[in-house]
Amino acid sequence: MKAARLRRVAARVGALFASLFIALTMAFALGRLSGDPTANILGPTAPPEQREALRQQLGLDRPLLTQYFDYITGVFTGNLGESLQFYQANTTLIFDRVPYTLQLVAAGMAIAIIIGVPLGVLAATREGTWWDRAASTVALLGQSIPVFWLGMMLVVLFAVKLGWLPAGQSGTPRHLILPSLTMSLYPMAHIARLTRASMSEALAEPFIDSARARGISRTRVVWRHAFKNALMPVLTIVVLQTGILLSGAVAVEYVYSWPGLGQLALQAIQFRDFPLVQAIVVFGAVVFVLLNLLVDVIHSVVDPRVR
C-alpha cells in the first residue's frame, strides 16, 4: 500500500519535472530559434560590429547546445542572467517586484472566492431557475469583459468622476481596492462556473437524497454534504488561477501603474531587455509548476481517495 503510494507520488513529481523541463525548453526555443534578437534590440540600422558585440555579451555566438546547457544549469542554480537596462541580476529585479504582485493577487483572489463560490452554489441549488441563469450570465460576462477595460472604467468612475479612490500607484490599502477588484473579475467568473458545475454534480449523488431523507436540513446538506464533495475542482482552479494571475497581471498593473512583476515585464519588452524577459518567463513557468505540485499535495490531503 505504502510502496504503491510512494510510486504514485514519484511518478507525479517526475511528470511535473518533465513538464517544467519542456516548458523551459520551449521558452529557450522561442527566444533563440525565432531569429537573431540583436536586430530587434538595436534596431535595423545598427552597424554589424555593434550587433556582433551584443551577441557576444549575450552569449549568442556560442554553440546552441552550450547555450542551452548553461541556461538550464542557470535555472537550477538560481542564476537567470543580468538585465540589459538595469545592470542588475534578473533574480534581484524579479524578487523586488514579487511582493507587490503577491499583494494584488492575494486581495484579488480573496474577492474572487468570496463572491464566486456562493454565486456558483446559488446557481447549482436553484438549477434551471432565473437565479441560475442570472448567475451564469454574470459569470460568462466576467469572462468576456477585457479586464483592463473594466479597470479603466473603474478609474473613470471612482477616481476621476467621484474622486473616492486613487487612480494608480501603490502604498496604502486604499490604493489596493480598485486594482484588486479588477483583478478578481476573471477568476471570480471561473470559480463561479466551476463551482456550479461541480456542485450540480454533487447534488445529483444518491447520498444527498439519503441525507435529506434522514431529515437533515437543506442548508446543512448543501454546505456540509454536497459542498465538501464539490470542493476539490474548485480548490484546484483557485490555485491554478493564482499562478496565472501571478504572471498574467501585466495589463492590470499597467492600468494602475502598480509596480509589480507585470510592469517589470512590460518595461523589459519596451527596452528590448531580452535577458530580463526570458528570466521572467522562466520564473513564471517555475511558479506554475510548483503550484501544480501544490494542487497534488492538497488533493492527497483533502481527498482520502487520492492517497
Partner: protein, 300 residues
C-alpha cells in the same frame, strides 16, 4: 481556455449513447438567437463603411474630444463623440472592427487547425504518440499565455504574423486536449470496428469517419476560440504589443484612449463595450453549441 477543460470532463466518458432522433427545439432556437446578432454586427462592420452613412473619416483638429450625442455638448454629427485628433469615434469603431473580427476568425483557425489534428492523432493512435502529445499539452498549458507572448514579441517585435503565431501557440493545447478526449470516445464505437473489419485504411478511418463525428465539438471549440483570440488580441494591442498604428483594432483604440481617460472617457469606453458585447455573444453561442453536442448535458 480552461473553460474548455471543464467541458471536456463531461464528454470524456463513454461514447454518446442517445440516438440522435430529434434535437430539442430550445437548443436550436437559442443557437439561432445568438448567431443572429453576431451576423448583424459583422454586417454592420463590413457594410456600413461602403454605404457612406457614417461621419467622414479623417482628422479635424477644430473638433477634438467632442462628447457623444447623448451628453451635453455632443452633437448628432458625431454620435459617439470624437477623439484627440478629432476623428469620429463611431467611424473608427466600425473600420477597426473589421481587423478585430478578422483577427478573431483567423486567430481561432490557426489554433484550432493544429490543435484538432494533434488531438486527433493522440486520441486515435493512443500508445506512445498519445503519451508524448499529452506531455506536450501539459507543458504548453503550464506556460501562461502572456509569458509566451512576451517571449515571442520581445524577440520578433509586433506584427500581424507574430500575433497569429502567439494565438496559435497559446490556443492549440486546449483544443488538442478536448479533441483528444472526444476522439477517445468516438474510436470505441462499433462502426469503427466495422470499418477496420472491412479493411479501411487508418487514414481513411481517421479523416473520413472519426473527424466528421467530431465536427460539432470542433465548431463549438472554434467559436469559443474566436472569443479568446479577440480578448488576447485586445490585451496585447492595449499594451502596444499587438496591433500597432497605422493599423487599428478595438484593442489599439483602447490603448489610445488610455491617456485621455480623465478628459474624454468615451474614446476608451465604446471600443471596450464593443469587445465585451462581441465576446459575450461568441461565448454564449459557443456554450450553446457545446451543450447541443454533449448529450449528457442536454438531458438535464
Amino acid at each position: 481556455m480552461s473553460r474548455l477543460e471543464l467541458d471536456s470532463r463531461t464528454s470524456k466518458g463513454e461514447a454518446p449513447k442517445a440516438p440522435k432522433a430529434r434535437k430539442p427545439r430550445r437548443a436550436r432556437t437559442s443557437v439561432f438567437w445568438l448567431a443572429m446578432p453576431l451576423l448583424v454586427i459583422a454586417a454592420l462592420v463590413f457594410v456600413l463603411p461602403v454605404t457612406g452613412l457614417l461621419p467622414e473619416e479623417g482628422q479635424d483638429l477644430t473638433r477634438t474630444r467632442q462628447p457623444p450625442a447623448f451628453l451635453s455638448g455632443g452633437t448628432w454629427e458625431h454620435p459617439l463623440g470624437t477623439d484627440k485628433r478629432g476623428q469620429d469615434v463611431l467611424t473608427e469603431l466600425v473600420t477597426s472592427g473589421r481587423l478585430t473580427i478578422m483577427i478573431g476568425l483567423v486567430g481561432a483557425l490557426v489554433a484550432i487547425g493544429p490543435g484538432v489534428l494533434i488531438g486527433l492523432l493522440a486520441g486515435y493512435f493512443r500508445g506512445w504518440v498519445d503519451k508524448v502529445i499529452s506531455i506536450l499539452i501539459d507543458a504548453q498549458l503550464a506556460l501562461p499565455f502572456i509569458l509566451i507572448a512576451l517571449a515571442i514579441i520581445s524577440n520578433r517585435g509586433s506584427s500581424l504574423p507574430v500575433l497569429f503565431l502567439v494565438l496559435a501557440l497559446t490556443g492549440w493545447a486546449a483544443c488538442a486536449r478536448v479533441t483528444r478526449a472526444t476522439t477517445l470516445a468516438v474510436r470505441e464505437r462499433q462502426f469503427i470496428l466495422g470499418l477496420r473489419a472491412v479493411g479501411a485504411s487508418e487514414a481513411r478511418i481517421v479523416f473520413r469517419h472519426v473527424l466528421p463525428n467530431l465536427a460539432g465539438t470542433i465548431v463549438a471549440l472554434g467559436t469559443l476560440q474566436v472569443g479568446t483570440a479577440i480578448l488576447v488580441e485586445s490585451a496585447l494591442s492595449f499594451l502596444g504589443l499587438g496591433v500597432v498604428p497605422p493599423k487599428a483594432s478595438w484593442g489599439s483604440m483602447l490603448a489610445s484612449g488610455q491617456d485621455e481617460l480623465s478628459q474624454a472617457w468615451w474614446i476608451a469606453f465604446f471600443p471596450g463595450l464593443a469587445i465585451t458585447v462581441l465576446v459575450l455573444l461568441v461565448n454564449l453561442l459557443g456554450d450553446a453549441l457545446l451543450t447541443h453536442h454533449d448529450p449528457r448535458k442536454r438531458r438535464r
